[in-house]
């Protein structure tokens, strides 16, 4: 795969298809798409004919790994929701329900502290400069670091909650 080396690729899924058959090359190409891409472009990047590329893209679309967008011409892009689910699946596999619930609890506490400190429900509306001035003892860098951590904690809480749910429904099936 000639284009698998770019440094900003998310690492863990890169190796899902090793070797050099066409199916694997198409997966490698589409995995790196960040915007809707036509079949012919994907075929060119994967060094195969468009008909073959379309066949595999249809299959990856069925698996939920890529999203097909109807149009003229139709386009494909990686389905970020699938990769998000993968992270949740890994959390659910690696932790017990109890551990996951404990993590959710800790995250909720952390988030509540930020909500109190900055008197806001989310980090988005917080004005870092003003918050720093008003606090007296927090530099702007401190505030930015808090806001970043707050946003991460919110995302993590959702992930851990979904992992909890996933474990619960896996247990009832």
């Amino acid at each position: 795969m000639s284009n698998s080396e770019s440094p900003d690729d998310p690492p863990p899924f890169e190796d899902a298809f090793r070797g050099d058959d066409v199916e694997q090359r198409v997966y490698g190409t589409v995995h790196q798409t960040r915007e809707p891409t036509t079949t012919s472009t994907i075929a060119k990047l994967s060094d195969c004919d468009p008909k073959t590329a379309r066949k595999y893209l249809g299959w990856f679309n069925n698996l939920g790994i890529v999203t097909r967008r109807d149009g003229h011409p139709e386009t494909y892009e990686r389905n970020d929701a699938y990769f998000e689910w993968r992270r949740i699946n890994e959390l659910a596999a690696e932790h017990s329900s109890k551990e996951l619930q404990q993590c959710v609890k800790e995250l909720i506490t952390r988030i509540a502290e930020y909500e109190d400190t900055y008197d806001a429900a989310t980090p988005a509306p917080v004005d870092a400069i003003r918050a720093s001035e008003e606090s007296g003892d927090r530099t702007i860098d401190d505030v930015y670091s808090d806001l970043g951590d707050w946003a991460t904690a919110r995302k993590e809480r959702e992930r851990y909650e979904r992992a909890c749910q996933q474990r619960a429904s896996a247990e009832t099936e």
């Binding site: 698996l63 596999a93 099936e173």
Partner: protein, 175 residues
């Protein structure tokens, strides 16, 4: 399909020629209820053991297969993936309002089962096996309970699909 047998399409020549090794291993894996070894899956997928191993490793990395720690290692489908895929496909194929309407219908069916059996959920039904000797009544009850459990699962899945369809709609609106 029997409990641990291969899916019925393994006899199809078409399937062998149209699907890649990876796809055939996928088909077999998702159609098999019990964990199976790479050797067994290779046989059912009509491919080499090596080819099956490679596909199974890929499927495990993708979250589609789960590998057990036994010796030899066995593989089974990850039901969480199939559930996620179902939510995704429902959300792709239906509008949020259609999905919400379907949830409403299922909730009504759920309520009529609750009324009929006088308990809030299927697992709370006391089986009348010891009381009723009438096989037809018993059979009907099993069928009801199985349908009721399916309704319960579907409500959850379709509610998730409502959220997913809404976020897809919002994403499209942003483009």
């Amino acid at each position: 399909m029997t409990d641990d047998g291969p899916p019925t399409f393994d006899a199809s020549e078409q399937w062998r020629t149209d699907r890649t090794t990876f796809q055939r291993v996928y088909d077999i894996l998702v159609g098999t209820d019990n964990p199976a070894s790479a050797q067994q899956l290779a046989e059912w997928a009509d491919c080499s053991e090596n080819g099956a191993r490679q596909a199974l490793q890929q499927l495990t990395e993708m979250g589609i297969a789960e590998k057990t720690d036994t010796r030899p290692a066995t593989y089974k489908r990850n039901t969480s993936y199939l559930r996620w895929k179902r939510v995704e496909q429902l959300a792709r194929g239906h509008s949020p309002s259609d999905l919400r309407a379907r949830v409403e219908e299922l909730i009504e069916e759920d309520q009529s089962f609750q009324a009929e059996y006088g308990v809030p959920e299927p697992d709370a039904v006391v089986t009348t096996e010891n009381v009723v000797d009438d096989h037809e009544v018993l059979h009907q009850q099993w069928e009801d309970l199985s349908e009721w459990r399916t309704i319960r699962r579907d409500i959850q899945v379709i509610q998730q699909a409502v959220h997913r369809a809404e976020s897809m709609r919002d994403d499209r609106a942003r483009v």
